[in-house]
Amino acid sequence: MSRAKLYIPRDAGALGLGSADVEEALIVELKQRGIDADFIHVGSRGLYWLEPMIEVATAEGRIAYGPVRVGDVKHLLDAGMLDGKPHRLRLGRPEELPFLKRQSRLTFARCGIIDRLSLDDYRAHGGWSGLEQALSLGPAATVERVTKSGLRGRGGAGFPTGIKWNTTRLAPGERKYVVCNADEGDSGTYADRMIMEGDPYTLIEGMAIAGVAVGATKGFIYIRSEYPHSIHVLTRAIARARKANILGVNILGSRRDFDLEIREGAGAYVCGEETAMLDSLEGKRGQVRAKPPLPAHSGLFAKPTVINNVISLASVPWILANGAEAYAAFGLGRSRGTMPIQLAGNVKYRGLFETGFGLTLAEIVDDIGGGTASGRPVRAVQVGGPLGAYFPRRLFTTPFDIEAFTAQGGLVGHGGVVVFDDTVDMAQMARFAMEFCAIESCGKCTPCRIGSVRGAETIDKIVRGERREANAALLAELCDTMKFGSLCALGGFVPYPVMSALTHFPEDFGLVAKAA
């Protein structure tokens, strides 16, 4: 018999659901049956309700089975899993699954498919062609292509990437840096983690392109310590890329140098803010810097620095390889291209859905997400992480677009969508937002440092029934001060979840009678 070929997802999400144990059981069982097999370590395709989703190479292509538990392994092999035979866990060809079929996977085209650390596999799936383009185009034309694509920062701020790059490119300086913000601290988001653990070379390629574009020879990837698997995979990917001369001196024979270094965060949410991240990289407390100067002029170690989110950088190779117009053809209004929407929390079909901007929240939550995992009615959805607004059902007509969300007092942020059923206590969620801000505040500005503590206390008073109306007005005023008086988005955006909870769910604060 020819060798069997199995694809095992090994990102933290699949591992958390037991994929390593399933692989172990498969190894033991196949050995007993005298069957030789290759185990290919891949990332997750992002269909987490089906993880661990194991795929086998068959005559009809790859066939998926999931969710596979250790106890299913014997039965699956008996049923003929290695030939793609029927079983209750058989999902068929993964690309035919409706959740995947409806997506436009550009940035995540390879994630979950290729051997995540194989340079050959990466190249065979179109890898490095973006970098080769950039090297032949040169800095100015590379920046222009990114600008024309309409790509805006995927970390949350939505600033046009091309403009940021051009500012750094034109900034005078012998030494410049590219910093990748991989401090993906927002609850409900895991797109950065999936790319780093499933297709790390895409990020490496994107950073090398950024280096070429702005004239930087050194890049840092700041990865949060909560992501040890990402650190592990990227460390190995960087070593292999260096060996293949994709990183280092005279990359790909271009006479340009670019190398990467990973730095591990230390559990401070605020270090996801770009200037706090720079201080942290310099070895200091991760405190927010006042702007100006912009990091593009004076960033890391006071040198011109371009800082981008993982997904922004990982989107660039596709843009360079396929053209700005092809990327800009996706999207809505001023939000061009695709966004990896991350369905999280209490939702039936939990996973990553990459698509052009423009779907409504109802389509995302009900149609793609299939409603709650608990089967109870959806009550609220938090979009954009812990600093994003809570949306009630009557706002579900809002299209997933940066401007449309801003107009509704919310934010798209990094694309996380956390679904809550009708058991949620929105006053407690508002309190948690303030508490989280108090825990994570860097302490530099007063509205954030003290406002968050007073905010939590005021919500407690409202809930206890102490001068409810007056304290609700005080909370609104405090939120206003935090929104306009804070130095960065932590204190500045925490009013979004708090005020949206108060406005849309006043009954949870005892401000109006609860509906029967």
Binding site: A12, G188, E264, G283, K284, A344, N346
Partner: protein, 158 residues
């Protein structure tokens, strides 16, 4: 379970010297110390300051700013439970209460037998497999009282 070394000035100095050569070395050094000893010993603070030409106050400021750095040795096992919103939407709050009652500790505390330290974490990126936890560096998703209870029992036995 993670095995840590006993603190010694010589080992501390070696770890510091090894990590001090890079730019912005303070946080990498502190990580290296914690990987070695399980925490950042107070005696190491002036040594880090000396190596980096910083004041002791500056290094103290860094150690105390970041949630990761412990100033005392942890228990034999470290359990981090995710407290963020996605895990809350799947019953995280009740699950955490259950764990705290079972272990009889609050956040940041170690059981009296020194076996288990319970720490909060704000997102492990396992939001599509909530509620989640990290136990001695290993991740777990889709937890409930039974699964977490079993993990706790295993830790108490080992």
């Amino acid at each position: 379970m993670t095995e840590f070394e006993e603190w010694s000035v010589a080992r501390g100095a070696a770890i510091i010297a090894d990590a001090a050569k890079q730019d912005g070395a303070c946080i990498p050094i502190l990580h290296a110390l914690q990987r070695g000893f399980g925490y950042v010993p107070q005696e190491a603070v002036p040594m880090v300051a000396e190596a980096l030409n910083l004041t002791r106050a500056e290094v103290h400021g860094v150690v105390t700013f970041y949630h990761d750095f412990r100033r005392e040795p942890p228990g034999r096992h470290v359990v981090k439970l995710c407290r963020a919103e996605a895990c809350q939407s799947m019953g995280g709050v009740a699950l955490h209460k259950h764990a705290q009652e079972k272990l009889r500790v609050g956040w940041g505390e170690t059981t009296t037998d020194g076996r288990v330290t319970l720490e909060p974490v704000y997102c492990l990126g396992l939001c599509a497999c909530a509620p989640s936890a990290m136990v001695d560096g290993k991740v777990y998703g889709g937890l409930d009282e039974a699964k977490l209870g079993k993990l706790i029992d295993q830790m108490r036995a080992a």
